[in-house]
């Protein structure tokens, strides 16, 4: 169990080149770690019995039937309902930053792929939206294996470009998604908070279930640099000379205020908020997804 979970660490997943394999690896590793977990039987209901075979989880054995027939049968489940799942990925250049193994963008894509794979396994139609200054790609939700491959290929080819316009993009997404869906947003939310929250409210107004994955690099959270540095904004090219040691405390305070405000205001709009450090194992994100999916 512990070994399986250890495969969900970004530095391990990074070694897999193909995104579909990467997604499968993440999901299989995640599910194998769910034994005894509260996610047992999530969002599915009983469909049929079949004969028990070695390797089946003992808890799926139907003991009442065993009492009547004196044979082991296991229960089979299927999803109770299906729900459209939209994976919305920020592909602005600010996501193309890393100090560890993965850029924020790579990390987001990995989780997005894994969630698509997991949703598809649950027969949920999965769609994909990518955006930067505007919505750059939109794949409507379907529930076919070929569709999953299309999503994964799109994600695999996606490169960060343009300039961030999160609020505008999310407004656009809100208009694009007609049916009530689960909207999973991966972004660093490097934009004016009021504008972003306004866009999120727009999405929430459309009755979507929204999960925000606030993806940040560890260096962004901690500002661990020691030397005097010329910080250049990845998107605007704006340069700023500062001694990290001097401004570290102030920077952290400002960033934390931004994060806390985003978390609080998301909560007010019944939007789930998850902070993800690119060093965080993938299961945290998947768990958050499954909780929301329940």
């Amino acid at each position: 169990m512990a070994d399986a979970i250890s495969y969900l660490r970004p530095e391990v997943i990074r070694q897999i080149d193909r995104l579909d394999l990467k997604a499968k690896f993440i999901v299989e590793g995640f599910i194998s770690g769910l034994h005894g977990s509260p996610y047992h039987g999530f969002s599915v209901e009983f469909s049929e019995h079949r004969k028990y075979e070695p390797g089946d989880p003992p808890q799926t054995i139907d003991w009442a039937l065993y009492g009547r027939t004196d044979r082991y049968y296991v229960k089979k489940f299927q999803a109770e309902t299906t729900m459209n799942v939209f994976v919305v990925v920020d592909s602005s250049p600010s996501m193309d930053f890393k100090t560890g193994e993965l850029t924020k963008f790579d990390y987001s894509v990995g989780i997005a792929a894994a969630m698509s794979y997991l949703a598809m396994k649950q027969n949920d139609p999965v769609g994909l939206v990518t955006f930067a200054d505007r919505v750059r790609g939109f794949i409507p939700p379907k529930c076919r294996r070929a569709h999953l491959m299309a999503i994964l290929q799109t994600l695999a080819k996606l490169k960060p470009t343009g300039r961030t316009q999160i609020a505008a993009s999310l407004h656009e997404v809100a208009e694009l998604i007609k049916r009530r869906s689960m909207v999973i947003v991966f972004s660093d939310f490097m934009e004016d908070l009021d504008a972003v929250v306004g866009a999120l409210h727009h999405l929430a107004f459309k009755k979507h279930d929204i999960i925000l994955f606030h993806v940040m690099d560890h260096a962004e959270l901690e500002l661990p640099f020691d030397d005097l540095s010329t910080f250049s904004d990845i998107e605007t090219g704006e340069r700023l000379i500062a001694d990290p040691a001097v401004i570290r405390k102030g920077y952290r305070e400002a960033l934390n205020a931004h994060i806390e405000a985003l978390r609080d205001r998301s909560g007010e709009a019944r939007i789930d908020y998850v902070m993800l450090d690119t060093a965080t194992p993938y299961d945290k994100a998947l768990s958050a997804f499954l909780q929301a999916r329940q």
Binding site: F97, L228, S229, I241, A242, I247, A254, L255, H258
Partner: protein, 673 residues
């Protein structure tokens, strides 16, 4: 402020080095692409201001550190330096070497401590300084630039047997540098601060200390303890062979009370011990009895056997002659057979046949010769020819008696001059009725020998001619004639006594000298008169010893005998004087001078006036040195303060400390965000 190595100040230019290093190695900002610049911008302005200030401060601190290091190497110091470097120092080391400094505790004596401290002070003297050494006992060395020689002298110094004050030595030290101009003058006095050590110099003498820096190095103990034997008295002063002598010992104590054990050890007798209680600041007396059994001398030692930090005054010696012949001066007229005048008395006092058993050492002089004699060299004077003495000699006799001596005056034709000064009773006239002594009326020690008819018949001599003394309350009859008139009278004159005999010792007046009782009677008269005068037999260590002789030494050679060690030292006397001078360097002990058959014992002891360790307060001492600039260097660590006072306080250490502080500040600031 000035600098010992001022030439090194050029190194201050090195201060530009850290500035250059700082500028050249100023950190170049590192390019850092970053997505969250929007948050950095909020606090970057403050960062830039602080970074500039920090850079400036670091640069300043590093430059200051270099300057301070140069400052320290240049050895800065405060005022005082100029005087010493440009003009120099003269110093006098004054060591109190009185025996009191032999006070010993935990194996270290006060003097040894003083010597160590003196060496410390010598070590602080700058090069080119001159120094002298003076001991309170009197020895001194002149100012010398050879400090190693002074050091050797200090190492050679030892406590003396003397108890002389240190103040005269201090004054002497000041005088030794009287002619020194434009130099710092210092006198370092190493003493136990005993009161007794700070007397003996006049106020005028103390003026010599004007403007001199006097450093008092106190090596004493705050509450010293001491007990000493301060006095030995023998009764009688000249013991007789086989007769008991009472030895009265006086013990004094300072700072201590309680029983002490005193022992008497005569040279030829058994040791005897007694315990006596002493009280702080008081004295106690112990009495021993001893009997001289043999020999011509009675000598020994009295000592305290109770442990005492100052041992030297716990021992006292005595040495007196046994059967000592009385040193008598007899004034006799020139023999005249027609008048029956002969040297009866001198012959009776010192019969040649008795040789060394003579009861008196007689110096016989004529009235003319008397003028040249020092009366104080004799224990008694016997005048047999009063008519012939000059008026001045009569006056000298009076002075002699008043000072405590004894005089016997035999009658003459004209006694008015004597009566006038109280040396003879008033006379009513001359009786020519023959008469005899009435022994039964004898009431005087000189007649004790003749009680019960022993030693000759006193009533046998006939007095055909005699003076009739008027009754006078001051004159007490010692014996009467048969007719009830006084045959001998005694009076106390001043501190002395006079025996008056109303007859002359010649054939016209009586036949007394022809009778056997005359010789013992003459001896008893001499002994009685000599009992009131004390021939000095005890001397203080360091004081010249003058021994009076019965006559001017005809033999120049004499021997000084150490009675304890049994050693003899041949010496030569000065023939021009009637006393011999023994060197003052004799240590405490028992001695005798032998000249011919004459043996004069004496003892030398420490002067216990110097045993009193009672201390002088600092305030009292400063009052006694009103013109001096007195400092008290009570601790050995004062050597550093002395250097500072002399050469100015060096600031090198402070500069180094400041440099370290600045470097620590630089490190702190460099690490500070």
């Amino acid at each position: 402020m000035e600098f010992i190595n001022a030439g090194l100040f050029g190194l201050a230019a090195l201060a530009v080095v850290p500035i250059l290093i700082h500028l050249l190695h100023r950190p170049r900002p590192k390019d850092q692409p970053f997505p969250s610049v929007m948050f950095l911008k909020k606090c970057a302005r403050k960062s830039r201001a602080w970074a500039s200030l920090k850079n400036l401060l670091l640069m300043a601190l590093r430059a200051a550190a270099v300057i301070l290091i140069v400052f320290a190497v240049a050895r800065p110091r405060l005022a005082g330096a100029a005087q010493v470097r440009d003009q120099g120092v003269v110093a006098a080391i004054v060591l109190d070497d009185s025996f009191r400094l032999d006070y010993r505790e935990a194996g270290l004596s006060r003097f040894e401590d003083a010597r160590r401290r003196a060496l410390d002070v010598l070590a602080t003297l700058p090069s080119g300084a001159e120094c002298s050494l003076a001991l309170s006992s009197g020895e001194s060395t002149p100012l010398s630039a050879d400090l190693s020689a002074v050091r050797a002298e200090v190492l050679r110094a030892k406590p003396s047997d003397l108890a002389v004050p240190v103040l005269p030595a201090v004054v002497e030290g000041a005088r030794s540098m009287e002619n020194v101009k434009n130099k710092r003058r210092e006198i370092h006095v190493f003493t136990d601060l005993a009161k007794i050590a700070w007397s003996g110099a006049s106020a005028d003498a103390v003026q010599a200390l004007k403007d001199i820096n006097v450093y008092i190095h106190d090596v004493g103990k705050p509450e010293p303890l001491n007990a000493a034997i301060t006095k030995i008295e023998l009764a009688p002063r000249s013991p007789r062979l086989g007769r008991p002598v009472e030895v009265v010992v006086t013990v004094a104590a300072w700072g201590r009370s309680g029983p002490v054990t005193v022992s008497l050890k005569p040279e030829d007798g058994a040791k005897e011990e007694k315990v006596v209680a002493v009280v702080d600041g008081g004295t106690a007396m112990v009495r021993f009895r001893a009997t001289p059994e043999k020999g011509a001398l009675f000598h020994g030692t009295v000592s305290l056997t109770t442990p005492d930090p100052l041992a030297i005054d716990d021992v006292r010696h005595f040495a007196v002659p046994v059967n000592d012949p009385v040193n008598a001066l007899v004034v006799e007229a020139t023999p005249d057979a027609d008048r029956g005048v002969a040297p009866f008395l001198s012959f009776a006092l010192s019969p040649p046949s008795l040789r060394d058993k003579r009861p008196a050492a007689v110096t016989a002089v004529t009235p003319l010769e008397l003028t040249r004699k020092e009366l104080k060299d004799f224990e008694c004077v016997l005048v047999t020819c009063p008519d012939e003495l000059a008026k001045e000699d009569v006056a000298r006799l009076l002075t002699y008696v008043q000072a405590g001596a004894g005089v016997a005056v035999f009658g003459g034709d004209d006694m008015k001059r004597y009566t006038a000064v109280g040396l003879f009773p008033a006379v009513d006239g001359v009786s020519e009725t023959p008469v005899h002594f009435a022994p039964g009326t004898a009431d005087h020690p000189i007649f004790n020998l003749f009680r019960a008819g022993r030693n000759g018949d006193v009533s046998a001599p006939t007095f055909s001619h005699r003076l009739t003394a008027r009754k006078d309350g001051r004159w007490r009859p010692a014996m009467l004639f048969e007719d009830g008139s006084p045959a001998a009278l005694e009076a106390v004159v001043g501190r002395g006594r006079v025996l008056a005999f109303p007859f002359a010792l010649n054939g016209r007046w009586s036949d007394l000298p022809k009778f056997p009782c005359f010789v013992p009677m003459a001896h008893e008269i001499a002994r009685h008169l000599s009992g009131s005068v004390s021939i000095e037999r005890e001397f203080s260590a360091g004081v010249p010893v003058f021994l009076a002789l019965s006559k001017a030494p005809s033999l120049l050679d004499y021997a000084l005998v150490d009675l304890r060690a049994g050693t003899r030292e041949a010496r030569r006397a000065d023939p021009a004087v009637t006393s011999i001078h023994v060197a003052r360097s004799l240590p405490p002990g028992r001695y005798a001078v032998e000249m011919g058959g004459d043996v004069r014992p004496f003892s030398v002891n420490v002067d216990t006036n110097g045993s009193d360790p009672t201390r002088l307060s600092r305030e009292e001492l400063v009052k006694r040195l009103p013109r001096a600039q007195v400092s008290f260097a009570f601790e050995r660590a004062a050597a550093g303060d002395l250097r500072d006072a002399r050469s100015g306080r060096e600031l090198t250490l402070y500069a180094i400390l400041a440099t370290v502080l600045i470097l620590m500040g630089e490190l702190w600031l460099a690490s500070k965000a």
